[in-house]
């Protein structure tokens, strides 16, 4: 642990440690936003605009949820139905040691692009609302709900991770204490 802290202090800047993942994380968001905005200039057919934009947005959703969430910030969330037939939201995170090793730039990029893309879709939605274009509003609605779903999932996951770390820290202290007491007594 001290070695790691020394090395991080001595290096003022670090590069992205997962450049490919960061790239994919950003590219689908940017592509769907760009396609949606530029399609007004080039494409006549609404169907193509809809399908391509929503396809890119759902690819982005999948990538963020399954790949970049894991790799950039070490979080994952999903929903399961347990034996009683109730729906349970599961959150998974890496242990604290690995979490503290996560590249700061990676996680900065992850969170900021997540929020920014949702805000961008919100603006585009307001534009299409103002112009009374119900069908484009449909596109924006779908993309916005996908972004918001990811935001909510990962934010809850992060809070859950913090709770787990606190609990785990308390538990560790307690168990260490009891095991040292036990070993002390066994020696005696």
């Amino acid at each position: 642990m001290n070695q790691i802290q020394d090395t991080t202090i001595s290096r003022p800047t670090e590069n992205y440690s997962n450049p490919k993942t960061c790239f994919f994380h950003v590219i689908f968001k940017a592509a769907s936003l760009a396609f949606y905005v530029l399609s007004a200039l080039f494409v006549n057919s609404f169907v193509i605009v809809f399908v391509v934009t929503v396809l890119l947005a759902s690819l982005d959703f999948w990538v963020v949820k399954n790949v970049s969430g894991r790799i950039l910030v070490g979080l994952r969330w999903w929903n399961e139905i347990n034996d009683l037939g109730e729906s349970v939201w599961k959150f998974e995170c890496l242990d604290q040691e690995s979490l503290s090793r996560m590249n700061k730039k990676d996680s900065w990029l992850f969170w900021w692009t997540l929020y920014l893309s949702a805000v961008a879709w919100l603006f585009l939605g307001i534009f299409s609302l103002i112009r009374f274009q119900a069908d484009y509003l449909l596109v924006v609605g779908v993309c916005l709900s996908l972004s918001v779903a990811n935001i909510i999932g990962f934010t809850k996951c992060r809070k859950d991770a913090k709770n787990q770390i606190q609990q785990f820290a308390q538990q560790t202290i307690a168990s260490r204490f009891s095991s040292t007491v036990q070993s002390a007594f066994s020696v005696v």
Partner: protein
Amino acid sequence: MAMSHNDSVPLHPSSQSDIDEIENLINAAPATVLPARPQSPPRASIPVSSSPFIQSNIPPPSFHNKPPIPPPISSVSVSPAVLPVTDPNVRPTVSAEGFGSAPNTLTEPVWDTVKRDLSRIISNLKLVVFPNPFREDPGKALRDWDLWGPFFFIVFLGLVLSWSASVRKSEVFAVAFAVLAAGAIILTLNVLLLGGHIIFFQSLSLLGYCLFPLDIGALVCMFTSSVLLKVILVPITLAWSSWAAYPFMSAAVSPRRKALALYPVFLMYVSVGFLIIAID
């Protein structure tokens, strides 16, 4: 490397991991010159330090490809920075050998995730649309709901309808998509308001998968121009869709209100069927 020991005396988890830690340090000592800059973890193997998987916490893997339930993060970290971690499956664990490699979805390669999702879609489709022994227990059958399948089927139906239409293609697509999506949501709300016990996403997933027969019908109708064929084919696929949706919806509400829950579903599928027939 500390593989799982079948000790006769089960050790206390924290002392076992202490032993693991010491063993790791001993074994990995020759290679532990920490690089001046910690290497970026290789892509598919973020070290998850050994959680000594306490046997009772891991439920047996279900018969379908359920994402494995994560173990409680209760481990003492076994200085993973020291070990060059290459294989996420070979990790010092206490007692996970009964289930093969540690069920941890955080470190699996991407291709595994894709395969898992794809196979889940296919298995859900088979469960919902084709006769199978689990139809009597609907809650268990669509346990691993997912929304990718329904999304694909709705978009596909919209596309086919749009291609079949000779005029106003965009409107046809938009209307079809909006009607199907909003219809699924409203039907689910209907069941919930009737006092039924259904999970929102599970029901959305089900209604989406039940569109599969109508997708097939629409695809065939796109290639034929004979109205008679359409009029015969569409009711068949319609009946198939309704048969697929029936057990789940009816099981969710009390028997007196079954018709109230099922009628709107049938109505929606009928209107989609009319849309398929009427488009030329």
